[in-house]
């Protein structure tokens, strides 16, 4: 047992025991001071930050659909991942992009990276350096993956690449000509791509990918979006979007599914699962407090009636 494990254990016992004690003292008719609630919230948020706690997220069908698609594609399939977000959205959606990148590269797919956001390119480079550079040093650029970067024109870009990829992206970001990039062998347009993953939620983003590429080109599209826009994407599921990762929770579900299938990923960075730790624990504590409050309310009402 490491120090972290011990710290985690003690904190959890403290939180759990504390709640039990509160419940019992509540049954005896004591009111819960709100400062005690504050203390529990502080502990439930601070503990997972100090001693990372991850909960076994079970993937919901919408998220599992994306995972299964990447999983079921044969080795060497072409996957396009588009970073359609800016720095403001990044904390929520970049973990998704990273997780899907890891998964695709592990499965041996050839990945094409691009961005419809000018500010997305820097984030894309960041992800490539962190995920591909550090975790898959054996992979070669252009042979196993390619970064074509950002092109201005929003849905206009999509309108072109649905029929001709080279026209819009004659070279990759390093000015390597299209024809000498191995990833593009046999790829003329987006119709030859096996899966498109759009990560974003703004404009242009998932919706444009569906309307301009997915539907006309009959290419499967998967989506990763911020939590606030997720409800607006549901009407497209499952016909036009095969699956959706919504917010930090969606990303965490994907990460956990990844770990379930490839245990070695547990060693790697899983920011969404890490973010979910404080969230889940705090939600749990709040829910337990609501339950305690209601039980005590009914008990006290019964007592009053009894009198």
């Amino acid at each position: 047992m490491t120090m972290v494990d011990i710290g985690r254990l003690i904190s959890l016992i403290f939180i759990g025991g504390g709640l039990l004690w509160l419940f019992i003292s509540g049954l005896k008719g004591k009111e819960v001071d709100r400062r005690i609630i504050f203390l529990f919230i502080f502990l439930s948020v601070a503990t997972p930050i100090l001693f990372p706690i991850t909960f076994g997220e079970k993937a919901t069908p919408v998220v599992k659909a994306v995972f299964d698609k990447v999983e079921s594609l044969p080795e060497g399939s072409r996957v396009l991942i588009s970073f359609d977000f800016d720095p403001a959205m990044a904390p929520e959606v970049q973990p998704m992009a990273n997780a899907i990148t890891r998964h695709s590269l592990t499965k041996g797919h050839k990945v094409i990276f691009m961005s419809l956001f000018a500010t997305g390119q820097a984030l894309l480079t960041q992800s490539l350096r962190k995920v591909v550079g550090e975790e898959f040093p054996e992979l070669e650029e252009c042979k196993d993956y390619v970064n074509v970067g950002f092109k201005a024109g929003n849905e206009g870009v999509l309108n072109v690449i649905v029929t001709d990829f080279k026209k819009m992206f004659p070279t990759d970001v390093n000015n390597v000509p299209y024809d000498s990039i191995e990833v593009f062998d046999g790829i003329k347009s987006c119709k030859d791509i096996d899966l498109i993953v759009s990560i974003g939620g703004g404009m242009p983003g998932v919706k444009e990918w569906v309307l301009f590429v997915g539907d006309p080109g009959n290419v499967p599209v998967a989506a990763g979006v911020a939590a606030v826009v997720a409800p607006q994407m549901y009407p497209y599921y499952p016909e036009q979007i095969l699956g959706i990762l919504g917010g930090v929770k969606g990303a965490a579900e994907y990460e956990s599914e990844l770990i379930k299938n490839y245990p070695h990923f547990a060693e790697m960075d899983t920011p969404a699962l890490r973010m979910m730790g404080p969230q889940t624990l705090a939600h749990m504590v709040i829910m337990i407090f609501i339950v305690i409050g209601n039980v005590l309310f009914f008990v006290s009402r019964r007592k009053r009636r009894g009198k």
Binding site: R34, G153, G156, N159, V160, T163, D164, P216
Partner: protein, 423 residues
């Protein structure tokens, strides 16, 4: 399937077909023309000898129209794209739009994508004359369209695009004024009880008994927000009661203008109550414009002065719950009201009474108890009646129209949508 009536709907399609055929004929003419070697050699930048020339047709039917209902600032352009502009394997790579002002030199106005067929040119001057043309370009060829007839944007005096908005404003505004008038003439009106406002008297009385102050928070926005205005009108009524009871009111505000307005309001209330000498400017204090700085200060006031009653009336953001929870913790009776749907749940959870949206704006009328003010509430109900009727008809028509494809019902929906769409 279609009933006789709907044949008229074919007309636009026929007209479009006619246009299309005309264009096609025209295009083939132009196409033949661009094959002329003379024309090609004229523009040396176009002819690239080492590769095959990709000849494209220009756009056709380029029309420039004054945007009708504006201040003479906008011209709308529309055209039929080049026939070589296609979704698959397009020869045309895009368009360049040029503008000529008052017979000056052509200037590049915009580069447009394939498939574009319209453009709005704004920020123009009605004194100038404008003319436009478009270039469709392939990788080594440029096809220029004909120039539009020079026009100048015209200034219109009435925006008829907004006639339905005017109609609705007229009906609802008219209903409000009508009921104000009829109440003024002495017609009795029923107004239901609003729990939060029924409690105002009691809440002020409580503060008087306990000898503790009343805290009034008018939200964190300035006087240019309509919710702050509602908060100030409520303050007018509440401070009259406070003046009558001779209770202490404390009002920290986060905007200087709100401070000025609130002082005038409270001062007036004390004058009406016949106690102008009891009023002092210290009742209202400016704190800071910073959202959470203000919240920190108000929280401090709450725990130190322990007000018996707290009013939260106006525009609130994230601070709503911080204020309401602190107020609750010091045992104050809290009456809140806001028109921000996102913050209402927090007031519902932490306050004793909450005015929901519309009730906030109705509050000062309700509290005044004057018939003419109450009349305006009846006028609002007419608006609700219109909304309910429109929604009922709209939903029924949409349901029947889509489920059984009844053309008349679809027309009803279309008409309603036009009526309830704002420009």
């Amino acid at each position: 399937m279609h009933v006789g009536k709907s044949t008229s709907l074919y007309l636009p399609q026929l007209f479009f077909l006619f246009l299309f055929i005309c264009n096609f004929l025209l295009l083939s003419l132009v196409y033949a023309q661009t094959d002329d070697p003379l024309l090609n050699s004229e523009d040396s930048s176009v002819a690239i000898p080492d590769s095959e020339l990709v000849v494209v047709a220009p756009v056709t039917s380029l029309i420039a129209e004054d945007y009708k209902y504006d201040d003479g600032k906008q011209i709308n352009l529309s055209w039929v794209p080049s026939i070589d502009d296609q979704l698959v394997g397009s020869k045309v790579l895009g368009y360049r739009l040029f503008r000529i002002i008052d017979d000056g030199k052509p200037e590049l106005l915009a580069k447009l994508r394939c498939g574009a067929n319209s453009y709005s040119d704004g920020k123009l001057k009605s004194e100038s004359v404008y003319s436009y043309y478009l270039e469709a370009f392939s990788k080594n060829f440029i096809a220029t369209s004909t120039r539009t007839v020079p026009i100048s944007p015209e200034r219109e005096w009435i925006n008829f695009d907004r006639k339905y908005l005017f109609l609705l404003a007229f009906i609802i505004g008219g209903a409000v004024i009508f009921f104000i008038e009829s109440a003024r003439r002495g017609k009795k009106l029923f107004v239901r009880k609003i729990a939060g406002l029924e409690a105002v008297d009691e809440a002020i009385g409580r503060a008087t008994e306990m000898g503790r102050p009343i805290l009034f928070i008018p939200g964190i926005l300035d006087m240019n927000d309509v919710q702050t205005l509602a908060g100030i009108t409520i303050l007018g009524r509440v401070s009259q009661q406070i003046a009558n009871y001779d209770t202490k009111i404390r009002m920290p505000v986060s905007r200087s203008l709100v401070m000025t307005a609130a002082r005038e309001t409270i001062k007036a209330a004390y004058q009406t109550a016949g106690r102008p000498d009891q009023y002092s400017d210290d009742m209202v204090n400016y704190v800071t414009d910073e959202q959470f700085g203000y919240v920190a200060a108000v929280d401090g006031i709450m725990v130190r002065e322990k007000p018996a009653t707290v009013f939260l009336m106006g525009a609130f953001f994230a601070e709503s719950l911080i204020l309401a929870e602190t107020g609750n913790s010091v045992g104050a009776i809290q009456i809140a009201g806001t028109a921000r749907p996102a913050q209402l749940p927090f007031f519902i959870a932490a306050c004793d009474f909450t005015l929901i949206g519309e009730e906030l704006f109705a509050a000062s009328a309700y509290l005044s108890g004057e018939p003419k003010q109450l009349g305006s509430l009846k006028g609002q109900d007419v608006g609700k009646g219109i909304a309910m009727a429109a929604i009922l008809i709209g939903v029924l028509a949409e349901t029947i129209g889509t489920a059984w494809n009844v053309e008349f019902m679809n027309d009803v929906v279309r008409w309603l949508t036009i009526l309830f769409t704002t420009q």
